[in-house]
Amino acid sequence: MGNDSFDSEAGSLGVSPDEVQFRFRDDEVADHGTVTVDACCDQTNATAVRIEPGDDARALLPFLDRLALVEVNFPTFGDGRGYSAARILREAGYTGELRAVGDVLIDQLSHMRRCGFDAFAPDKRLDEEDAVKAFATWDNVYQSAADGRKTIQELRHE
């Protein structure tokens, strides 16, 4: 998956803050209004939710089947809780869109991708060329994560 391509057309839809600039999915862009994690647990029809850094991603596990979009907000790029939230959802089998929103910058893209994010809606549009390079930073990886890539240790012992 390291060399998969993304659909940067999504980015041409507009420049408002919530627009998706990079997307690694073939399905339609989920365009549902998101609700908070609390609201999602209370109301049975929500299909899109936004996780804030202090939220427990595991609270969503009973509802994964009906969710088409989970946004994980990064109010500041240095707050790394969203990486755990993303992996937890993927480990639980969530296959819908997992979108990183907020203070999403070039140099965090490769790690976000590894943790299972497949859509990116940065507050500020990113330089396309720098981003393409950033997604392709690692030819191989040391850890097993949510992207299903074979680890270096696995490759060594094939």
């Binding site: 850094p53 427990d56 790029f77 240095g78 707050d79 790394g80 809780r81 990486y83 755990s84 992996r87 480990e91 910058l105 070039i106 140099d107 965090q108 490769s110 790690h111 976000m112 590894r114 943790c115 330089d127 720098d130 390079k133 930073t137 690692w138 030819d139 191989n140 990886v141 040391y142 850890q143 097993s144 994560a145 680890t151 270096i152 240790q153 696995e154 490759l155 060594r156 012992h157």
Partner: protein
């Protein structure tokens, strides 16, 4: 020792290129300093008091002579002719230019070295016993496990923006030479009742402004679950460690606030979940790593030295450590010459040490957290020749574990965080005790000096600790007694009001006098302190 394969090399090379791009974007203004800072820190690049400083990783403190030699060359080529060995078994350079940094990383990668994660809120360079694989008293060599964890922790996608920095130490002996329980995670490789090897986990130790000794949270993790267990520890921390206050963000605060029992419960729950997620590297990987650390071809030879030269005999007594092969010792090169700067070495000295390692120690060196260098496998028959060369290079100070063997952080002479200078104190104290001849009389005495509350000089763990503080714009020093980072770990207690520079040096003299007057047979300073308590020292320092 470990040798990179193409994958490892690729990872390091990819990082060099990534950083080159990041530095370029910073210089072009595409990255603000706020955005760039965590990125440069994760490549060991600080902005210090006088310039950029680059910290180079020396994984578990082990390096070969080509690597050591390259470190000397970097000191000469990019810095001002010297480097500083640190309390995390690394080396740092004080006068680096941002525009050179990527080139330095490229030079390092040619000898399988890097500066990855030597700073930043991520898992730092993994430290270990500096006598690993050489000492007579270890269960196994801890370094294959440290290497397994090095790979796991390098560029970990989930744990790159932790609440705060994260330090791991791995040992495999009852003797703790790595301050294991003063780490975020301390791992001791142990054998259980069934005779199996596994890992004992201690979590939530640390120094800094709130020193804590790590409680044990699991007495035995099977080796084929080691990485998974560490991942569980980290995930709980990443999710619940405090991010509202950087001074309360280390894992020790989380473990303390939750209580060790509750933290353990959460880790166990996460661990049970992760066991099904394929986190653990395949078992053959550990088996692949072990042979890299196999014994070199030791040969039998003389087991004693000619002690007719008293200077040599003193150095042998003080600066060598018993080896697992009785014809060898581990020899310690002191980087604490009397009046010198603890941990500093010139490019020339670094290359000399590299050459001597090649000649006398199967091409291998270690960096100690006490800022000295070890030649781990020296034939007893070669000791005199080695010592002669060390002495000529001003590397022969016979003062390991004495009051002259002071740990000192760079302090206000170099560090942007410091409140007071540390190095001048170390210089004056070593000169004073050398001159008075009291060093020998005092025996083992660990003096550690930090120039600020962050405790890089490990003052909490000193038999005698000194902490520099800022008192209305003046340097002031607090004295503390009774700390230890070894297997008898304890935290030092402050004696009372602080002193100025001259005063604290007098105070060190005073407490050593109390020790000499009160000690019983065979007691170290620390033992006497533990027996008689703080009061007699306080009285001597401050009167009744």
């Amino acid at each position: 020792m470990y040798k990179y394969d193409n994958y490892d090399q690729q990872m390091v090379d990819a990082r060099v290129e990534e950083f080159r791009g990041q530095a370029k974007r910073r210089l072009e203004g595409k990255l603000t300093e706020d955005q760039f800072k965590p990125l440069r820190l994760m490549n060991g690049l600080y902005l210090q008091l006088h310039a950029y400083m680059l910290r180079v990783a020396i994984p578990y403190g082990t390096l070969n002579s080509a690597q050591m030699s390259a470190l000397g060359d970097i000191a000469d080529k990019y810095d001002r002719g010297y480097g500083h060995f640190t309390t995390r078994q690394n080396i740092q350079y004080n006068w680096i230019k941002l525009e050179d940094a990527a080139d330095i990383l490229a030079d390092l990668s040619k000898v399988e070295m890097h500066a990855i994660q030597t700073s930043g809120n991520c898992i730092r360079n993994i430290s270990s016993d500096h006598f690993a694989g050489a000492t007579h008293d270890e269960l196994v060599d801890p370094r294959p496990y440290a290497e397994l964890l090095r790979q796991w922790s390098s560029f970990h996608p989930e744990f790159t923006y932790l609440p705060r920095k994260f330090k791991i130490a791995v040992i495999a002996a009852e003797k703790d030479r790595a301050a294991m329980r003063l780490h975020d995670i301390g791992i001791q490789i142990v054998k259980n009742d069934a005779g199996e090897i596994g890992a004992r986990f201690f979590v939530g130790g640390g120094m800094g402004r709130t020193p804590m000794i790590a409680p044990m949270i699991r007495d035995f993790v099977p080796l084929d679950q080691l990485v998974t267990y560490a991942e569980g520890c980290l995930r709980v921390y990443n999710r619940y460690g405090r991010r509202d206050n950087k001074y309360k963000a280390r894992i020790k605060i989380l473990v303390h606030e939750l209580g060790a029992e509750e933290y353990t419960r959460q880790v166990e729950e996460e661990f049970a979940h992760l066991l099904d997620q394929g986190v653990e590297p395949p078992r053959p990987e550990l088996e692949r790593l072990k042979p890299f650390f196999a014994d070199p071809p030791f040969e039998d030879g003389p087991k004693t030295v000619d002690r007719s030269d008293p200077d040599f005999a003193l150095w042998v007594d003080r600066n060598t450590h018993r080896h697992k092969h009785d014809s060898y010792v581990s020899a310690v090169i002191s980087l604490k010459p009397v009046g010198g700067i603890p941990g500093d070495a010139t490019g020339e000295q670094i290359r000399t040490m590299a050459r001597l390692a090649k000649q006398y120690s199967f091409d291998e060196l270690r960096v100690m957290h006490t800022q000295n260098i070890v030649l781990p496998h020296v034939k007893i028959a070669d000791l005199h020749a080695l010592w002669t060369e060390l002495d000529a290079a001003e590397l022969g100070a016979p003062n390991l574990d004495t009051i002259e063997d002071i740990i000192a952080c760079p302090g206000l002479d170099y560090c942007a965080l410091a409140n007071a200078r540390s190095i001048p104190l170390a210089q004056r104290i070593s000169e004073r005790f050398d001159k008075s001849g009291k060093t020998a009389e005092l025996g083992e005495l660990k003096l550690k000096i930090s120039g600020c509350i962050n405790a890089c000089g490990h003052h909490h763990a000193g038999h005698i600790g000194i902490l520099g503080v800022d008192k209305k714009g003046k340097e002031n020093y607090q004295l503390s007694l009774g700390g230890s980072e070894a297997e008898d770990v304890s935290l030092a207690k402050i004696t009372g009001p602080g002193f100025d520079e001259d005063g604290v040096i007098e105070a060190v003299e005073t407490v050593t006098d109390v020790y000499i007057a009160q000690r019983e047979d065979g007691e170290r300073f620390l033992d006497t302190y533990r027996r008689i308590g703080m009061s007699p020292f306080k009285e001597a320092l401050y009167g009744k």
